[in-house]
């Protein structure tokens, strides 16, 4: 059985992932009812501890918690006052003293959720730590593909973009590989993590080759800030070489789907005419995010395996 915390996809096995996905299917049904609420976590407290701003993910967790009837508290410390690790732990331990049933943590630096989890009694759920992992994003991506394709085994998934800085890429490459998909990464050479093929994926600097026969094309957001680190010369060149448009999409399978964790840069990662309708399933991803987070909260909140029999 899974541990107390959900910190990384790397820590989960195939059975764990399948269990979360099956639970998410049930939670999706709840989202289709008129009264989108069940009493499962009534009287329980869920704290969103977001050191890094994120309206999307935080709102998604909040809705998920509320649909399970939990009391959700948002705590967004201002980043300047909490740069030191000691302060982060102080904050977390203070919250822990109020006995929450789960603490969802997002931070710009890798490893902070783990440090918090080590210090706390409450279960900790990683909502994104630096370039390390974003487990619930990968879970909702898995769920979306599973719903679309009916399976995950044997699919070819191509992830495109700023891989080296992306926690979404890392979590997804673990998640899809563990469930039997072939994962390909496509990026300019400056954005491929060193020795990434040791993780069981294939790295490409040619988008065309990476797209050949792909079932799923997952695009990552390009950040303007990366220009400063000299990772690519211009948005224009990135869009020309790695941006997805209909012409390039033809190298993938005819029934390929296009995904993006959002927010999207239209005209950069994805052409304007691809972003808003089939084969893009971007809005499905967002919707599935709530069901998947409900499943995660159902399976993790209020549990403390150390105290259980």
């Amino acid at each position: 059985m899974m541990g107390r915390d959900l910190l990384a996809i790397e820590d989960l096995d195939r059975g764990d992932l399948e269990r979360i996905l099956e639970t998410a299917v049930r939670m999706e049904e709840v989202g289709r009812r008129d009264v989108k609420k069940v009493p499962t976590l009534r009287g329980r407290t869920l704290i969103n501890l977001f050191f890094e701003a994120s309206t999307r993910t935080r709102t998604s967790f909040e809705i998920a918690g509320k649909r399970l009837s939990a009391d959700v508290v948002n705590f967004t410390p201002s980043s300047s006052s909490l740069k030191k690790a000691e302060s982060i732990l102080d904050t977390a331990m203070t919250l822990d003293a109020m006995a929450p049933d789960a603490v969802v943590v997002r931070h710009a630096v890798a490893g902070v959720p783990k440090r918090i989890a080590d210090a706390l009694e409450a279960p900790v759920i990683n909502a994104g730590d630096g370039a390390h992992e974003h487990p619930t994003q990968a879970l909702l991506d898995l769920f979306t593909v599973w719903q679309e394709k009916g399976r995950l085994d044997g699919l070819t998934v191509t992830i495109v973009g700023d891989i080296v800085h992306s926690r979404v890429a890392r979590s997804n490459l673990y998640a899809f590989s563990k469930l039997g998909a072939e994962v390909r990464l496509a990026a300019p050479p400056t954005m491929l993590p060193p020795a990434v093929e040791a993780l069981g994926v294939k790295a490409y600097t040619s988008l065309r080759e990476a797209l050949e026969g792909a079932d799923v094309v997952m695009l990552l957001r390009i950040q303007q800030e990366r220009l400063d680190g000299c990772f690519f010369p211009s948005i224009r060149e990135y869009a020309a070489t790695f941006g997805l448009d209909r012409a390039k999409l033809r190298y993938a399978r005819d029934d390929a789907i296009v995904m993006h964790p959002g927010p999207i840069n239209r005209g950069v990662e994805i052409a304007h005419d691809l972003a808003d309708r089939r084969p893009s399933v971007i809005l499905d991803q967002v919707r599935n995010g709530v069901a998947v987070r409900m499943a995660v909260l159902y399976l993790f909140a209020g549990r403390n395996p150390r105290r259980e029999g």
């Binding site: 099956e22 639970t23 049930r26 709840v30 009812r33 009264v35 609420k37 069940v38 499962t40 209020g302």
Partner: protein, 205 residues
């Protein structure tokens, strides 16, 4: 020693001597089918607005039972009664005190609940907590005209004031025993049977 149950129909092929989980069949397929026919008749008898009936099964055991009852109602009174499935796991009152979270089951409610006479169908009723959870769930779906309960087996040990309107068989048991409906994998055509196991511990239903 396992106490002998009430007189039941059918043989008792699996009564074993002391030792490993001693099992006995308390209701075989024939007996179950017969009980479901009788229950269908009782439903027709006790309900004025037959057109408002809505069978809602509590998975997993309630599902083949509800379907069988619907088939019987069709045969007896030419009724087309919708069959829904309502998983109660998310409404349980004992979820968070347990260790592992139980897996969730399918919920499918093809018909609206408002104004209907909802007939909850469960295989084994014991403490009454599952029925209570089902009623809570039902209320989130709408406002039924009335709620009735079908239980194939009532094994007693109520903890809540829940009554079963239509019982297949009353079966006094020890708390430590487990009562299970088997044969669900066979679907509607499969052979069902209710089995009592001396197990120690067990699900409080």
């Amino acid at each position: 020693m396992v106490p002998s149950p009430n007189a039941t129909a059918g043989p008792d092929p699996r009564s074993a001597p002391s030792g490993e989980s001693a099992e006995r069949v308390v209701l075989d397929d024939t007996a179950i089918r017969r009980a479901l026919v009788r229950i269908a008749h009782e439903l027709v008898e006790h309900n004025e607005h037959l057109g408002d009936l809505y069978l809602v099964a509590i998975p997993n055991g309630g599902v083949p039972l509800a379907r069988a009852i619907a088939a019987n109602l069709h045969q007896i009174a030419e009724l087309e009664v919708p069959v829904g499935i309502l998983d109660t796991t998310l409404y349980r009152d004992d979820l968070l005190s347990r260790g592992d979270r139980p897996p969730l089951r399918r919920t499918e409610m093809p018909s609206a609940v408002d104004g209907r006479v909802v007939v909850l169908v469960d295989d084994v009723v014991s403490t009454g907590r599952t029925i209570r959870a089902a009623m809570d769930a039902l209320m989130d779906f709408g406002r039924p005209q009335a709620v009735q309960v079908v239980g194939l087996v009532d094994r007693g040990h109520r903890e809540l004031p829940i009554k079963i309107d239509y019982v297949g068989k009353n079966l006094p048991t020890q708390r430590s025993e487990r009562v299970e409906l088997r044969g669900l994998a066979g679907g509607l055509e499969g052979a069902l049977e209710v089995v009592v196991r001396a197990d120690g511990g067990g699900e409080a239903r």
